[in-house]
Amino acid sequence: MSRPNGTAADLPAGVDAPVFAEPWQAEAFAMTVALHDRGLFSWGEWAAALSAEVKKPGAAADGHDYYEHWLAALESLLASKGLAAKPDVDAMARAWERAAHATPHGKPILLENDPHAAR
């Protein structure tokens, strides 16, 4: 029987590219696990939501956009459950972007830094 000699097959166990390319990917993943742990949706419901996103045309062949689909699936599931409506997420995301702009480089980005923040 021939032996594996490809690059992928030679990776030692546990050594691979980082699981998450950017922190937001890890956070989106962990939120999904946490919300499932609280019983807010079943894992079957989650798989259906994720499947609906990843089978949309245009998914990258190298899989680099996987967590973008993950996030879209999470948003649509939360919207359908009435837990986070899309307009609210849109507005809050804009607030975070404004807060980031208003935060000097090197300082932590806080939502309070949003100049439009209603207090």
């Binding site: 032996r3 594996p4 939120m31 079943s42 894992w43 989650w46 986070a84 995301a93 975070w96 480089h105």
Partner: protein
């Protein structure tokens, strides 16, 4: 996405949306930021293919355990304290000279997290998900694994409810090895089915 470094901070749109969800869900009391950090740390550092390698090595060493793993993988794996979070069932599929097993999730990216950690990028990418079923032999060749024509390839399609762990054949020349040493022969890819167990001479032993 902006790569302009001259001015103030910028959040890319995905990061901003994730923060927005976190803010909304935290305010509703549905998530706690500290708990999110714990989950990230667990999956980045504590759960990984070492867990599955211990299951396979135990099955190689202990015929009773192998038998249990064949009949009720969920319970046999849980007995080593590797418990799935999504209430999924596990099935162990054993490679033989006649049949090689390969795992895919054509639907999305279902994967046995409790024993393998999170899936590699290629497992989640469209080419593997679509081609593993249509042309498994060709896919394996791309992984550098050429099986004899007489070996059948059986492809298992994971679901949210049922995940698979491939148990490779134990390599020759490993008689008398400890489970710990055997586990070093079992790679993540071997447990997905895109590789075989390593041969004894392929492992690096600490001096």
């Amino acid at each position: 996405m902006s790569h302009d470094h001259d001015h103030d901070n910028e959040l890319d749109p995905f990061a901003a949306r994730v923060r927005a969800l976190e803010t909304i869900l935290t305010r509703k009391g549905l998530i706690e930021p500290a708990a999110i950090d714990v989950i990230v740390d667990t999956y980045e550092t504590k759960i990984g293919p070492r867990n599955g390698a211990k299951v396979v090595a135990k099955a190689w060493s202990d015929p009773d355990y192998a038998d249990w793993l064949k009949r009720d993988a969920t319970a046999a794996i849980e007995s080593l304290s590797y418990t799935g979070r999504q209430g999924e069932h596990m099935q162990a599929v054993f490679n033989t000279e006649e049949t090689h097993n390969l795992v895919v999730c054509t639907l999305c990216s279902c994967y046995p997290w409790s024993v393998l950690g999170l899936p590699p990028v290629w497992y989640k990418a469209p080419p593997y998900r679509s081609r593993a079923v249509i042309d498994p032999r060709g896919v394996l060749e791309e992984f550098g694994l050429t099986l004899p024509a007489s070996t059948k390839i059986r492809v298992w399609d994971s679901t949210a409810e049922l995940r698979y762990l491939v148990v490779s054949m134990r390599p020759a020349g490993t008689e008398g090895w400890s489970e710990e040493r055997l586990a070093e022969l079992v790679s993540r890819d071997a447990m997905i089915g895109t590789a075989l167990a390593r041969e004894p001479q392929q492992t690096r032993r600490p001096a």
